[in-house]
């Protein structure tokens, strides 16, 4: 092996111009591979952050209950309708929280009381969706705390947070008092503690956050809760986590992929497109190295003949040429990784990408994978030419 490596290195150095060109070709392929990985990964992260980032990844609710059928189904035609005679609530929810929080992949749990209400101010009436959370869990699902543009995210019992658009529609600011009438007919005054802007119009117009205890009173839920929302990382694990939680709790469990199937498919398709582009980059590298090695063998035919005539075995000749291809691949791969690293350095993190900017995530560049795959591909691409070299007839090659 050592002797084969020495001969291979001498070959590469003796025609350094050709070696350099080949390595540059490989480096460009690797740079494309890494750039595409960083771009596709960054794009997925951006889309995820801007869409999935503000919604629950898994939602747990009470199962729908069908009414008991009293009539004999064989003699009477029965139409089963959803039972709306009782409030849908998770009555006993506290034992579930540590179970959910301890599930692999779960990064946050928020027990919530939800309901519809009207905000009244003067003659203006605005329908809103109210979410009651414990103050410490305000930003577990959507990062409301970071979206506060006025006031604070504290949630005292008499305080609420409303969206920027709703505040503008009603012409109110923090510190002012609003009257809320719930769908249970309960009324109460709340002081606006903060105004948030999530950048999602529906949320900024209709979402209202309030203290968990205040929500209990407003929606007439003395002990139960409406739902439990869960955050998962990575978000693509939501289905697996949902299956686990379904088995663990017996509740109705819905992952975000079910309710946002189109987005999930788009992200998936984007990922597959990136994979195809990367495969083509690898194929280009393989074809380039294989054809260069074949040319090198034609050029070095006489030298191969000499080696064989002097007693070098086929294995030594094969090893020399496989090592040549592998060295070109490895050098080009490392060079390409360095080029890509430098080229990607000026791009800001995905979370700071400006409108219209490229969402490049250097962390998802798959540098090590690109180097390993390219080196492996180069070694594989060299095998066939190397076997051809080993099969060179020394008599023909040296013209004896």
């Amino acid at each position: 092996m050592r002797y084969a490596a020495k001969i291979a290195i001498r070959h590469l150095l003796s025609s350094w111009g050709q070696t350099l060109l080949l390595a540059i070709g490989v480096a460009l392929g690797v740079a494309v591979f890494i750039f595409m990985s960083a771009l596709i990964g960054g794009l997925a992260t951006l889309l995820t952050q801007r869409t999935v980032g503000s919604i629950p990844h898994v939602t747990l609710e009470m199962r729908d209950r069908d009414p008991r059928i009293l009539a004999d189904a064989e003699s009477v035609q029965v139409v089963v309708q959803k039972d709306l005679s009782r409030r849908e609530q998770i009555a006993i929810w506290q034992p579930f929280i540590p179970i959910i929080a301890g599930t692999r992949g779960v990064t946050g749990v928020s027990a919530q009381i939800r309901g519809s209400a009207f905000i009244e101010r003067g003659q203006a009436v605005a329908p809103v969706g109210v979410t009651g959370v414990t103050p410490g869990n305000l930003s577990v699902i959507a990062n409301i705390g970071a979206a506060i543009v006025e006031g604070s995210g504290d949630l005292p019992v008499d305080g609420i947070l409303i969206g920027r658009i709703l505040a503008d529609d009603l012409g109110v600011r923090t510190g002012q008092v609003l009257r809320l009438v719930s769908d249970r007919g309960r009324e109460r005054n709340f002081r606006i503690g903060g105004i948030f802007s999530l950048g999602i119009a529906s949320a900024d117009r209709q979402a209202v956050y309030m203290n968990f205890t205040a929500a209990r009173a407003l929606f007439d839920l003395p002990s139960g809760i409406s739902r439990i929302e869960v955050k998962v990382a990575p978000v693509n694990d939501a289905s697996r986590v949902a299956d686990t939680l379904r088995r663990a709790t017996g509740l109705k469990v819905t992952p975000w992929t079910e309710e946002n199937a189109q987005l999930f498919e788009a992200l998936d398709a984007q990922g597959r497109t990136g994979t195809i582009i990367k495969i083509f980059a690898l194929i280009t590298i393989i074809v380039g190295i294989a054809s260069a090695m074949l040319l090198s063998i034609v050029r070095r035919r006489a030298e191969i003949g000499i080696l064989r005539a002097m007693g070098a075995g086929k294995r030594l000749v094969t090893t020399i040429f496989v090592l040549e291809g592998t060295l070109i691949g490895a050098t080009g791969a490392v060079g390409g990784a360095v080029i890509a690293w430098a080229a990607l350095a000026p791009f800001p993190p995905v979370s700071e990408v400006a409108q219209g900017g490229l969402p490049i995530d250097r962390g998802q560049g798959q540098f090590l994978l690109a180097i390993l795959l390219t080196t492996l591909a180069a070694a594989l691409a060299s095998i066939l030419p190397a076997r051809r070299a080993a099969g060179v007839d020394p008599v023909e090659a040296i013209g004896q």
Binding site: A4, S14, G305, L307, A309, M310, G311
Partner: protein, 232 residues
């Protein structure tokens, strides 16, 4: 007389098939002893190179037998022939056929290093001794491109001797050299042959060279036309 180093019986070599078949060697019977210095004569196309190639195990005969050092080389597999060639046979070609990317010392070491898969201090010492012996002690680090034709051919002779072969096959070793260089190379071969047990079979057109050999055999149209007996 002792057991011959190599023995060839009724050797034939043909190329091609059917009407295109051409027989290059036929009915060759030949024995070579250890320590012989033999000239192989004959006009171009008489089959000298083909015979050397077969004796060097680079080519298989079409029929007949070839035994060297007790090994039947016509029946041996390719791997066995490669190993036998590496251990027992050295080559000197008309064109030096040195590896251009290796120094003179590395070229001389090559047959041993290719066998072992690495270069050792012992190989370096042996190669340096051989370069000293061929008068190129000061050219060890030179690449072939930096040496004259005669110097390259002397490196090729040193390379042929690296594995202490029993037989060195030289195909027109001086054919590409001027008279002075040719005489130098032949004097070198003569001296090594006299100092060692190595048998040299030298294919040549050069009367000066053949005159310095102790035995001459001649090929004509693929047959042995003349074979002097081995000198006593």
């Amino acid at each position: 007389m002792s057991e011959p180093l190599l023995s060839v019986r009724d050797l034939e070599k043909s190329f091609g098939e059917g009407e295109a078949r051409a027989t290059v060697l036929r009915g060759i019977d030949l024995d070579l002893q250890r320590g012989e210095l033999t000239a192989l004569l004959g006009p171009s196309g008489s089959g000298k190179s083909t015979l050397l190639t077969i004796l060097g195990t680079l080519l298989r005969p079409t029929s007949g037998s070839y035994t060297m050092l007790g090994t039947d080389l016509t029946a041996a597999s390719e791997a066995e022939r490669t190993r036998f060639r590496r251990e027992n046979i050295g080559f000197v070609f008309q064109f030096h056929h040195l590896l251009p990317d290796l120094s003179a010392l590395e070229n001389v070491m090559m047959p041993s290093a290719a066998q072992a898969g690495r270069e050792t201090a012992a190989m370096r010492t042996r190669a340096a001794e051989l370069l000293d012996a061929v008068g190129l002690a000061d050219r060890r680090k030179y690449r072939p491109a930096a040496m004259s034709g005669g110097q390259r051919q002397r490196v090729a002779v040193a390379r042929a001797l690296m594995n202490r072969p029993a037989l060195v096959l030289a195909d027109e070793p001086t054919g590409n050299l001027d008279r002075q260089s040719a005489d130098d190379v032949m004097a070198l071969i003569d001296r090594i042959n006299a100092e060692t047990e190595t048998c040299f079979l030298i294919s040549t057109h050069d009367e000066h060279i053949s005159a310095r050999c102790r035995r001459r055999i001649e090929l004509l149209d693929g047959r042995l036309a003349r074979a002097e007996p081995t000198p006593a």
